[in-house]
């Protein structure tokens, strides 16, 4: 049959990585960067990219060792059945809580800016249903959607940046290289959070078998686009508001985009309209996360498949979202994850790859599992 095998091409891989990081990052990234590095907050972006590279290399090395296994299956092989499963469950629960916090944050954003009177649970339900629908269709559909949406989204985003440039004041961005790292409060390692979603790639490594050689190149391409985007985003936000004012804003990027005004165009508040378009990337990131977590769960528990797990997890996430819907609480949780999440997202693959090297574990080259 002339059917596509479940594998993703290089462009699909790139668009998936880019859009997932983008969707997760644009909401909160500015706060962390400004808090940690003040007026030089934009420099946190390439720094975060650099710090993410070891984790990605670890995932890549694991992929080469275990071409047919994803991170969950790899941990079962490396750590043994019981320990591997236990640690995997903890890893997945961490990702699940991270996703819950993030999805609640987005729902609060929509509740604040767009739909004030609509009950919060309706917004959560709508959001989660579409994300679950996407996640349940599998990696091919998720990557195709990402590929379809990435170019128009990137155009809208870069257009918005061009429009906010006139309001940017260079003095607010100076002095460059005046590093005053702030490790208290929200600051410190929270700057790494932009590239956490790249770690989700560890779940789809078996589908990247055919493009192993191209992955480093595609990852670098994703990095360059993301770095340029977040750099512009930070420059825009800090250049417009100054690094001290940003900490008072719950969604600095949104507020930055809202300053965009194009006189006499059909849509007023063009910035807000652009933000609404960006919400599409948020749903795609959510869909991909749900898919990854459900896939992991099904592999750990050895039950059913990811499609069923998506529909099992969705109501659980929904109920948790409703109960966590306090803006201050959600923000503090997301700060916590941003600051310490790297230990799990990057630490886990690094640990696994070291253990795989020590115990000389390797996967089968033929498709076995």
């Amino acid at each position: 049959m002339n059917q596509e095998r479940t594998s993703i091409g290089p462009w699909l891989f790139w668009s998936l990585s880019t859009i997932t990081c983008f969707g997760f990052g644009y909401i909160n990234a500015n706060i962390y960067n400004a808090e940690t590095m003040g007026a030089n907050g934009y420099l946190a972006v390439p720094l975060a990219a650099l710090c993410s590279i070891p984790g990605l290399i670890a995932i890549y090395l694991l992929m080469k060792r275990f071409p047919n296994h994803n991170i969950i299956q790899q941990s079962i092989v490396i750590l043994g059945g019981f320990l591997g499963r236990l640690v995997s469950i903890i890893y997945l629960l961490f990702l699940l809580v991270f996703f819950i916090v993030y999805s609640t944050d987005v729902a609060i954003l929509i509740h604040n800016y767009l739909l004030e009177s609509t009950p919060f649970y309706i917004i959560c339900a709508a959001d989660l249903l579409i994300a679950a629908y996407l996640g349940s269709r599998g990696i091919e559909t998720v990557s195709r959607i990402a590929s379809f949406v990435i170019l128009p989204l990137a155009t809208v985003v870069f257009l918005l940046f061009i429009l906010i440039l006139p309001e940017v004041r260079v003095d607010r961005l100076l002095p460059i290289f005046n590093f005053q790292f702030n490790f208290e409060g929200v600051g410190g390692t929270s700057i790494l959070n932009i590239f956490y979603p790249m770690g989700l790639w560890a779940f789809i490594t078996p589908y990247c078998k055919n493009i192993q050689q191209k992955i480093p190149r595609m990852t670098m391409l994703a990095f360059s686009v993301l770095i340029s985007f977040f750099l512009l985003d930070n420059i825009g936000t800090i250049g417009i508001y100054g690094h001290t004012y940003i900490s008072q804003l719950p969604y600095p990027s949104i507020e930055t985009f809202r300053t965009v005004e194009i006189s006499y165009i059909f849509i007023e508040q063009a910035g807000l309209f652009g933000v609404i378009v960006l919400l599409a990337s948020t749903i795609i990131s959510s869909g991909f996360s749900l898919y990854a977590i459900s896939l992991g769960m099904s592999q750990v528990l050895g039950l059913w498949d990811y499609k069923r797990f998506v529909w099992i997890l969705t109501p659980l996430i929904f109920i948790t979202n409703i109960h966590l819907a306090h803006p201050g609480f959600i923000k503090s949780l997301s700060h916590l994850f941003a600051k310490h999440g790297w230990m799990v997202i990057w630490g886990y693959p690094i640990l696994l790859s070291i253990l795989a090297f020590i115990f000389k574990k390797k996967g089968k080259t033929t498709h076995g599992s």
């Binding site: 709508a126 004041r169 003095d171 417009i240 004012y245 005004e261 006189s263």
Partner: protein, 370 residues
Amino acid sequence: MVHKLWLFLALIFCLSGCWDQEEVSKRALVLAMGLDQAAEGKIKVSLQIPIVEELLIVPSGAAVSAKPFALVSAEGSSAFATVPGLNAKTQTSLFFGQIQTVFINTELARKGLTGPTDFLRRHPTVPPQAFLLLTERPAHEMLEVRLISKRIPSYSTVTFFHSNNKKDQVFPQRIWEFNRNIRSQTQDAFIPLIEYDTKEETFIIKGLGVFDGDRLAGILSGEETRMVGLLTGKTRNAYLSIPTERFGRITFRKVTAAPRTKIEHNGHQLLFRFHVNAQGFLVESTRGITRFTPEDLEWIQTKTALYLNREIKKAVQRLQALNSDILALGEKYRAHYPRKWDPANWKLLYSEAKIEVSVKFTVTRSGTML
């Protein structure tokens, strides 16, 4: 089974209440807002709401009502606390998403605007690009004036600010900029001062209100505002008129400037160096002189540069006297001297700083005459 579940979920959404739905015709669109100081420390909020049926263009050209908008006011202990009172006076619910301008009375501005303007940055539908205007008259009076040009006062101010050729004495300050500036330690806010001419039934831009923190510190005159515009580079089309003995009164139009500002710290005092490269089109010589020689032009340019030098210095000194840093010199100081930057003593340094101005003026064109 799965399909039935989808249908069930779809039906739930269809049966939902469309909570946020409120048609634009069923909302009271607030086009302008006025903030005044009322008695006993209260704040009076006035809203200008158009009567939409009166605004429809009638094809037959029938006479339209002279006053197609309504004004509602209420007093309260804070700005947004008046909203229940205002809602009680309107048939439909108030909608702030189309606010064009907010008029603020100078008396209220002198007391501090952190409180009265806080809701403007918190309310998600208030457009951050709405303009702020100061008025010495009560703001609610400004909302009900008649204009010969436009039927809705607030809307006419918007067209005013959108016109490029009007950026001479007035520089718009939008809500988001204002809210950032009054809370910033490195920059102060300003709001254009607007007045109403009862005889000619039109608005007049009178000057620029400058703030120290969140309090109105003083009003710059038109000429001072023009100089500030040249210093900040915001001017798009300034007019300049200079008396000369040789050529009568020389007037320039489309005066723009490319300023460069430097701050130097010599240990205990700051020095502000302003270098302004200005240019303009020569449009009038009251003696009707034409055929300007290069020496003539050089002379005119030098004279104008001297004039500008003097006026710019006066304007900056005025700002220092009012302790208002609308030129964002604090930001520059922080950027170039990050280790010496201390928000606590910035204003002191600012008010005692020395000023050096150097201006270079170029006559770019002399119109359709030589």
